[in-house]
């Protein structure tokens, strides 16, 4: 009880400060803090800490780079519902460079970027959206994408790769990858990196990662692929509300059959949920309204590496990717040819043994030494 009381007191106090600073409601602040604490898997006692940090934090400068992408990651961020994009951009961070959102253009814009890099050396966050191609593709302000990234990453506090393109190469890196597009990971040396894959990534996850850095001054716990564990530890399948149907072996066989209407598992229709790690099944989209599986379509697996080369979206996971007919036929023909050649040799051996055998006489039964 006492702890709850103290926590409640803290929230109240920091909420007031928040209201004063941002003009946002105290109630909303409490919700944000609780949610952040929960998604970042802090203990309940951490809610107070989150509140304290959030209310008092200085707005860190952010440089947001766009390379080979479709801006859907930014679009997704704009649909963040709590905190909203405006809250985030206007109150929580200082978005100093974002080609789509900023008013500045040309030299002015590049100067703003350089100014931030200089003034907030070692303190700014670098957000990267899109994959990085090899020269000569994707030049901005006369500079190569790779050079821009390296330049900006050099003095950043951390790099946040948003979306599957920046995280894993995504669509630009799909076979045959004509621009030799790459993810951020290999280009920034040992700079701390957070990957928030997804096509697009969950707005709440982008917001939460920024908020986490804001409140605690460090990056959240990450997995092998630099993804925040809080959002990427479970697979879609693990958290899917249709999971019981999978366990019972009840599958929709087409998008308009009885099973589909009954909301059965979409495995047979190509759902990649079992091997896709993301938070869609819990956070959902559009202010928690729905997510693809809830709308009756299988998961595309967009937040996993190579998702674009992962076979048809509608091919079940248990089917192979790619065409095997020709190679199988060629192999069989080669095997048959070799087999026939070998058998020809064997037959020769047999025929020789038969034809060269001299008639056996009684003397032949005595063993010679």
């Amino acid at each position: 009880m006492g702890e709850h009381g103290r926590e409640g007191d803290g929230l109240e106090r920091w909420g007031a400060l928040w209201e004063e600073r941002t003009g946002l409601s105290r109630r909303g602040f409490a919700q944000l803090c609780a949610w952040l604490a929960a998604t970042m898997t802090l203990t309940s006692g951490g809610v107070g800490r989150v509140a304290e940090a959030l209310a008092a934090a200085p707005r860190p400068p952010v440089i947001w780079l766009h390379f080979q992408e479709c801006t859907a990651c930014s679009e997704s961020l704009l649909r963040a519902h709590y905190p909203t994009a405006e809250q985030l951009i206007l109150n929580l961070i200082s978005l100093d460079y974002h080609e789509t959102l900023m008013a500045a253009a040309g030299k002015q814009a590049e100067e703003a970027r350089r100014a931030t890099m200089k003034n907030a050396k070692g303190k700014y966050l670098l957000v990267v959206e899109g994959a990085i191609p090899a020269r000569p593709f994707c030049r901005i302000g006369g500079q190569d994408a790779e050079a821009i990234l390296k330049e900006c990453a050099a003095d950043a506090a951390a790099v946040i790769a948003v979306g599957s393109c920046a995280s894993f190469g995504g669509l630009p890196a799909a076979e045959p990858n004509p621009t030799q597009a790459r993810s951020v990971a290999g280009l920034i040396g040992k700079k701390p990196l957070v990957a928030i894959p997804g096509c697009p990534p969950q707005p709440a996850v982008m917001a939460a990662v920024l908020a986490h850095y804001l409140t605690l001054g460090r990056l959240p716990a990450l997995d092998q692929l630099h993804r925040p564990k809080a959002f990427y530890a479970d697979s879609i399948h693990d958290r899917c509300y249709r999971r019981p149907f999978y366990d019972r072996g009840q599958f929709a066989a087409s998008f308009d059959d009885e099973g589909a209407r009954k909301g059965w598992c979409l495995f047979k229709l190509g759902c990649k949920g079992p091997v896709t790690h993301n938070a869609c099944a819990t956070l959902k989209w559009n202010e928690g309204v729905s997510f693809p599986i809830q709308s009756g379509h299988g998961c595309l697996g967009c937040s996993e590496p190579h998702f674009w080369d992962n076979g048809s979206f509608y091919a079940p996971l248990s089917t192979p990717i790619g065409e095997s007919g020709l190679s199988t036929g060629v192999a069989a023909a080669a095997g048959a040819t070799l087999g026939a050649a070998l058998a020809g040799g064997y037959r020769k051996v047999i025929d020789q043994a038969r034809s060269e055998a001299r008639p056996v006489t009684l003397d032949d039964l005595e063993k010679s030494s």
Binding site: L225, H237, G249, V275, G311, A332, G335, A343
Partner: protein
């Protein structure tokens, strides 16, 4: 990428599968030619009149069952053998996920077993195969006959079953990784089948036919 599960899954679903299928078809074609192109001499002895001959096709069928008395002499071999084969083929051909594969390959599918039943049959196959291994190592005849090839064939058969079950139940490692291992194990089985004693899956029917024909022409239903 440093997540071996996902990378491996992509590989086994893509190039791995194509490779395994190619090795299988190469090996199978080669082995079948090696075996069936040797030829066979015509039997000049006049057979029994047609109505008294044994049917080779019936021999092919009959050999699914032991001759009377044999079961009692080797119950472990029979029970583990039957249960393993029934469980293995039930799961291979009637688990939903596998039917999807056959549908992809053949263009048509068939009804699946219910998930709990397929699951149970998989467990039956796993337990039976373990029992078969114990029996192989303890039975004097089987221990005496067994070679490295027998144990290799056992492992090739056992691993897909085990990893399939573990993937389905999300045991030990992530589903992604386990499914990848399952497919890898299945591809190993497929690729090595023609080169191991597992080729019996194809040849026993012909072997039974030859023997059935030899017995049959003499008037004995083997």
């Amino acid at each position: 990428m440093n997540d071996p599960g996902y990378e491996l899954l992509l590989w086994v679903r893509g190039p791995g599968w194509i490779l395994a299928l190619a090795v299988f078809s190469f090996g199978m074609a080669m082995r079948l030619f090696e075996i069936f192109a040797l030829g066979r001499r015509e039997d000049l002895a006049p057979p029994r009149p047609a109505e008294r001959q044994g049917s080779p096709m019936r021999t092919v069928w009959n050999r699914f069952f032991p001759v009377p008395g044999l079961f009692e002499r080797a119950p472990a071999t029979h029970v583990s053998g039957y249960l393993f084969h029934i469980g293995f083929f039930a799961v291979l051909f009637f688990a939903e996920f596998h039917i999807q594969l056959f549908r992809h390959l053949l263009g048509f599918g068939w009804p699946a077993l219910s998930a709990p039943l397929a699951d149970a049959l998989g467990v039956v196959a796993i337990v039976a195969l373990l029992a078969a291994l114990v029996s192989r190592m303890r039975d004097p005849v089987k221990r005496f006959l067994s070679t490295a090839g027998d144990y290799l064939a056992w492992a090739l058969t056992f691993l897909p079953l085990l990893t399939g079950w573990m993937a389905y139940h999300h045991v030990l490692v992530s589903y992604t990784r386990m499914v990848a291992l399952h497919l890898l194990a299945a591809e190993l089985l497929l690729a090595l089948l023609p080169f191991t004693k597992l080729i019996h899956a194809v040849t026993i029917f012909v072997a039974r036919w030859y023997t059935g024909e030899q017995f049959g022409r003499k008037g004995v239903q083997a």
